[in-house]
């Protein structure tokens, strides 16, 4: 097989594949077991980047107040402590 002139005779043959045709092709494939096998994302929530633990012992009423405040504001206690730290740090600057 030689000579590019032979290949020049082969022309592009565009196919008018509409969304409807792709859907029909998918249906035909699915009926024969050719399914969508695109890898799915891992189920479940992503691991939190908050990995450091604090274990402070406080008076019960302070602990309960922190817990209630976090719950009211839809935050975790860790997020609330981060916010408190931010305010404290700004005040010191």
């Amino acid at each position: 097989m030689s000579g590019s002139n032979r290949l020049a005779g082969l022309k592009a043959r565009p196919k008018d594949t509409t969304v409807e045709e792709v859907r029909r092709v998918d249906e035909v494939g699915e009926a024969r077991g050719f399914l969508d096998r695109t890898p799915r994302k891992k189920p479940g929530r992503k691991p939190s980047p908050r990995t450091y633990q604090l274990h402070p012992k406080v008076f019960p009423e302070v602990g309960q107040a922190i817990a209630a405040e976090a719950e009211d504001r839809g935050l975790t206690q860790g997020q609330l402590i981060e916010e408190m730290w931010e305010i404290y740090s700004s005040a010191r600057r």
Binding site: L7, A12, K15
Partner: protein, 222 residues
């Protein structure tokens, strides 16, 4: 120019080898060949990482939603698109087939390959019906014996032809050079001309086989 799709839901039948051989041969003839590696095993990407022949462009990591637009954007006058698919039954396969001018189903001459490969042939025929146009398709037997045609191979060829299925001649013989292309990259001609490449096989015979195979495919694209 034509879109050639390698399809079989079975892995290890020689889809990637067929794709590499055709891409190399058509590029040698002067065509601008785009190879789409849609196999998660990335065989063609590995081959290309060692170097691709002049005239061959590789595109990889193409999923189900990208396959149709990618084939369309790669197609054009003076270009040949070769699609290497994953060895599973997926929508990516059925969508690629819908864009093909020729579907090649590689098959080793074994009952298992024939049974699983026939799923791809059946799918092509059902897509033809659904789309209202013909999609040319053919089987090529792979990893066949260089010395003799086995009884199983003869029977399989008879059965396929009896069922009206186009069988590409010649088959692709089991050659070390074909598998070693993936270790060295490039094409068989480069392999033959480079004394540093140790194939442990007859590259010249492999090249003759590949050229005859590409010629047979070209005849089906006219």
């Amino acid at each position: 120019m034509p879109v050639i799709v390698m399809a079989s839901p079975k892995g290890g039948v020689g889809k990637s080898t067929c794709a590499v051989l055709l891409a190399s041969e058509f590029a040698r003839m002067g065509a601008d060949v785009t190879v789409l590696d849609c196999d998660p095993n990335k065989s063609l990407t590995r081959w290309a990482s060692h170097g691709v022949p002049t005239g061959v462009t590789l595109r990889s990591e193409i999923g189900r939603s990208e396959i149709v637009p990618t084939i369309r954007s790669a197609d054009g006058d003076g270009k040949i698109v070769i699609v290497d698919l994953e060895g599973v039954a997926s929508q990516l396969v059925s969508r690629a087939i819908s864009q093909a001018d020729l579907v090649i189903v590689p098959m080793q001459p074994t009952a298992l390959d024939a049974e699983i490969g026939s799923e791809a042939l059946a799918l092509v025929r059902e897509e033809e019906e659904a789309l209202g146009r013909s999609i040319r398709h053919a089987v090529v037997l792979t990893k066949t014996s260089a010395a003799v045609k086995s009884r199983v191979q003869k029977e399989l060829e008879e059965q396929l032809r009896g069922a009206g299925i186009d069988v590409i001649e010649p088959s692709l013989v089991a050659r070390a050079a074909f598998s070693e292309l993936f270790a060295y990259g490039g094409d068989l001609t480069a392999m033959m001309n480079d004394p540093e490449m140790m194939t442990g096989g007859k590259v010249d015979k492999a090249l003759i086989n590949a050229q005859a195979f590409a010629e047979a495919v070209y005849e089906r694209l006219k």
